[in-house]
Amino acid sequence: MSAITVEGLVVNYGELRAVAGVDVEIARGEVYALLGENGAGKTSTIEVLEGLRTRTSGSVRVLGHDPADGSRDLRDRIGIVLQTTGVERQLTVAEAVGLYGAVYRQPRSVNEVLELVGLTDRADARCGTLSGGQRRRLDLALGIVGSPELLFLDEPTTGFDPSARRRAWELVDALRSDGMTVVLTTHYLDEAEHLADRVGVMSAGRLVVEGTPADLQRRSGRTLVSFRCGGDEHDLAAVTRVAEGLGDRVRLVDGRIELLTVDVTAALHALTGWSVAQRVDLDSWSVAQPSLEQVFLDLVGGADDE
């Protein structure tokens, strides 16, 4: 059974069309990531699903409800972690979690929630004194305190350091194994790659592509070839020109030249041939499926060109 069904969703802000016809279906227990650049329509889409934004047209069902009805039952069964919600700064962390938890039918205990998000040692700190990363953890705590069946995470780890991000991922993994459905938006492709069962990429208000992270990598139909150039700057420029004739998105990353190509054999043949003929060493070869980030840049770049 679906947790979320969206058909033909359109959201206009005056003249501006933020969401231009999105169809999406998310199953119960699934972790779904919406990717896209700023202004792609991710947040508008997710806020309609949360019942916090009015849609212009289209049909939306969330856990059997139309979120526009503002049903109390629905609000009890979802958790929301937004970028734009604040919390009373004068409360302590434990007070805030207790206060918000008390309005749900099935609140988690304050200690359990603080333990889950890693704020136990800040329980008595005023919310106004938390660092940015701790504030996001408190947001997460208030999102899960009502034992939601469906959790919305709008860029949940923005501002986290790497270890805090890993903790947040572990938390989502743990909640997922409890059967919770998660819809998240993120800028971080490694986050989507790590967490999501399925990824939807939005661009200019549309869902341009959808699939599992592995799907998207395969569907791009291209392979990532990268190597190091042993010569001088002149050689580097020369081999880069050769690479540009063989594939797309040629770039220099940490001293390695990367390119995406449809025909690996031809590319390798041409590059090694160049190497022998020019007597310039090319080494540290790698031939791999592109990362989600490269696929994403490929897709969003493609949509922009249209």
């Binding site: 309005v103 996001r136 069946e149």
Partner: protein, 281 residues
């Protein structure tokens, strides 16, 4: 579908919200100062300066020291409701606190009622404090027969000013301008409403101006219950009607204009600020 248990009782939810609001109020020093401490300071200072004179009234001369307590207690109640809500609700809107509450299953009327009743509790505490100081230090006379009338007037006034505070909180464009709007509306009114200085023979138009706004009718009819010679035991219906009419107007405006989300412009800047904060950590 999983069994999610029963809803928390409405009474408990309201009580929790009121407690929450009062707790927040007590933890904000600036609100505490302007609402509770400042009227108390004014009571002491005004009495030190003018305390020995009298105010003329129909029933006879009224010692100023007794006059001030009732007026300032009424003013405290107005600060705790009107000024307090006009200041705090826009901040909560702009910081996304109202938006968060709206995303929870807390019924919206409970959220709004909680804010208003919280202000009401603060108003009662503040006014009581002033009255007690008045009785102990300035010879304020409390006639038990006049207390029901005082209470009725107080409740009507405080509810009306709470409604007006909610209404004005939707009218201000941003949290930054909220204190200015709140003070610019209430302070000039206080001067023409005999709160700080009892006006002796004011020009007719000034008198009338005071009468059509709710502060003077509220303060005067509340004061009248504490008149040393002839305490009012029954309400001044004309004055109460003016106050209640304003309150109803405020309630209708508040219900029609209440917003959870910041205005689109304020939203963008709030979001930028939030992003900036996150980057800096």
């Amino acid at each position: 579908m999983s069994e999610r248990g029963t809803w928390p009782g409405v009474g408990g939810l309201i009580l929790a919200q009121v407690r929450h609001q009062v707790r927040l109020f007590l933890r904000v020093p600036i609100g505490l100062f302007f609402t509770i401490a400042l009227p108390l300071i004014m009571l002491v200072v005004f009495n030190a300066v003018f305390g020995d004179s009298t105010v003329a009234s129909e029933a006879g001369e009224w010692p100023t020291r007794q006059f001030y307590t009732g007026a300032l207690a009424a003013f405290t109640a107005v600060s705790a409701t009107y000024t307090n809500l006009a200041n705090t609700v826009p901040v909560r809107r702009e910081e996304g606190i109202l938006k968060r509450w709206r995303s929870t299953p807390l019924p919206v009327p409970v959220l709004i009622l909680g804010q208003m009743l919280g202000a009401l509790v603060v108003a009662i505490l503040g006014a009581l404090l002033l009255l007690i100081v008045g009785v102990l230090a300035y010879g304020l006379q409390v006639d038990v027969a006049a207390l029901p009338n005082a209470l009725l007037t107080f409740i009507v006034g405080v509810l009306s000013f709470a409604a007006l505070g909610m209404a004005i909180s939707s009218a201000v464009s941003s949290a930054d301008s909220a204190p200015a709007v709140a003070n610019a509306t209430i302070l000039p009114l206080a001067f023409i409403s005999n709160i700080f200085i009892p006006l002796e023979d004011p020009p007719r138009w000034l008198d009338l101006l005071g009468d059509i706004f709710p502060l003077k009718p509220f303060a005067e009819s509340f004061q009248a219950s504490f008149h040393p010679i002839d305490p009012a035991t029954s309400p001044d219906l004309g004055a109460l009607a003016v106050v209640a009419l304003w309150g109803m107007f405020g309630a209708i405006a508040a219900v029609r204009t209440f917003r959870f989300d910041p205005t689109p412009g304020a939203r963008a800047s709030g979001r930028r600020r939030q992003r900036g904060r996150q980057r800096s950590t």
